[in-house]
């Protein structure tokens, strides 16, 4: 019953989030009738996902047929949920996949492409004017934070590379790699010349 309660709460929250993206539910409608089983090995837990045009239904048990079964440890499942290149994760040895994999990939794609219209949701609760003010403020703060983080990252890398000399700078490293490449090519050329010379010496001795 505890698991059923947790899944009911998760389903409720997930469906609210899905409703905030105008494209998610129509895309889920294409998966209606599919049953996807996620079988987590460590810790042992099973969740069945039934998508339809109203969102997702989650179940801890399902007596009917399953279209797609994904079996993996929790770490691989988390990696799969967050990774952009899902095919690479699905091919890893810890992951077992049976049945209609297209349904599973489509579902992950829908969840990954979510673009939440949080302003619309906030507007329903607070009204248009406060939402506009709050949204403008949040956007400004977000932009400021993003720019601040980018500047911090740039200053930190410059300090480590140029001032403290803890790390090698990017251009310095590129120059060193370029010299190494040139040296490698020169060495190969020299090796080929020596080989040719030794062959010509051998042929003159025989004559």
């Amino acid at each position: 019953m505890l698991m059923a309660g947790l899944l009911a709460s998760a389903e409720h929250g997930l469906n609210r989030v899905l409703r905030m993206d105008s494209t998610a539910l129509p895309r889920l409608a294409a998966l209606e009738g599919k049953v996807i089983e996620i079988d987590c090995r460590q810790p042992a837990m099973q969740v069945f996902i039934l998508p339809d045009e109203q969102g997702l239904m989650l179940a801890s048990a399902w007596e009917g047929e399953v279209d797609c079964r994904l079996r993996a440890p929790a770490a691989s499942l988390a990696h799969l949920a967050l990774s952009r290149d899902k095919t690479a994760v699905l091919h890893s040895p810890q992951v077992q996949l049976h049945g209609d994999t297209a349904a599973l990939l489509d579902l992950f794609g829908i969840l990954q492409d979510l673009e939440l219209d949080w302003e619309h949701e906030l507007q329903k609760w607070l009204g248009p004017v406060p939402t506009s003010l709050i949204a403008g403020h949040i956007r400004l703060r977000t932009r400021w934070t993003r720019q601040g983080l980018a500047r911090l990252s740039q200053s930190l890398s410059e300090y480590l590379a140029e001032e403290s000399r803890t790390l090698v700078g990017k251009r310095e490293a590129e120059a060193a790699f370029s010299e190494l490449d040139a040296m490698k090519v020169d060495t190969e050329r020299l090796e080929a010349r020596i080989l040719r010379l030794s062959r010509s010496l051998d042929s003159s001795d025989n004559a």
Binding site: M1, A4, G33, Q54, M57, A59, A61, W62, E63, E65
Partner: protein, 256 residues
């Protein structure tokens, strides 16, 4: 097993809570109870079960294995909790029938589902569980949630459900049952006979209906008896799952 059919001379009696009443009166008395509580049925369910009835119904749906395109009959469907979920699961190619003997409950259920946009693949039928007005071998799944204990002739109802199921179809009976833990049983008795009528009085101004609810639960067959009734009626692979220490059990049987 709950029926006490007597000879030709006296009218047979049956249980109505702790009272013995003539069979002809039970349906009317049950109807009066549900007419009285229909408007606040959902609220009372949430208050009395602490919201647990949603999880019990959720587990029943998980056991149903209903798929897109299936035909489902929800008997004593009341305010349509199960029927709404089934309508989602069967999709536009499937069909759900919400049946209830009580006109008031059916009306509340129909209005509620239509208001929520549940339509197109659902039908509302006023029907007696003992004489289901559907063809033989018609449904993939039949459910009855918290309704069987109010039926006068339970064996007849179970046989009727068997008749309308397709071979391989599933019957799910979600009903109050007998707690498996003695301590829980005592606490549950105190809760049922003290709190439930009081809550009924405060919320619906009707304590008698909730006293009947507590009594009818005690008179309902326990897990093993109901299982035997389903086997006797002709169901195969009958199993049951206790929930919340056996306060509620869901029985499942397959039509051979």
């Amino acid at each position: 097993m709950n029926d006490q059919r007597k000879g030709d001379h006296a009218e047979p009696t049956t249980h109505f809570g702790y009272q013995d009443v003539p069979e002809s009166q039970k349906a009317r008395k049950v109807a009066e109870v549900f007419h009285s509580v229909a408007a606040k049925y959902d609220l009372m369910n949430d208050v009395l079960s602490g919201g647990m009835h949603r999880l019990w119904k959720r587990f029943t749906i998980e056991l149903s294995g209903v798929r897109s395109g299936n035909r489902v009959l929800d008997i004593a469907g009341g305010t349509g909790d199960l029927a709404a979920k089934f309508a989602r699961l069967v999709g536009p190619t499937g069909h759900v029938v919400l049946a209830d003997i009580n006109e008031s409950m059916l009306k509340v259920g129909r209005d509620r589902l239509l208001d929520r946009g549940v339509a197109g693949n659902i039908e509302f039928v006023q029907a007696d569980a003992e004489k289901l007005p559907f063809p033989d071998n018609h449904f993939d799944c039949v459910t009855i949630a918290f309704g069987l204990r109010n039926v006068t002739h339970k064996e007849d109802a179970i046989r009727s459900m068997l008749r309308v199921l397709k071979p391989g179809g599933r019957l799910l009976v979600l009903e109050f049952s007998k707690p498996t833990n003695k301590l829980m049983s005592k606490a549950y008795d105190a809760y049922s006979f003290a709190f439930m009528p009081l809550a009924g009085k405060l919320i619906t101004n009707d304590s008698e209906s909730y006293r009947y609810l507590a009594e009818s639960i005690r008179m309902h067959p326990d897990q093993e008896t109901l299982k035997a009734m389903m086997v006797q009626a002709g169901f195969d692979r009958v199993t049951y799952h206790n929930m919340t220490s056996g306060i509620v059990a869901v029985h499942r049987g397959i039509k051979p």
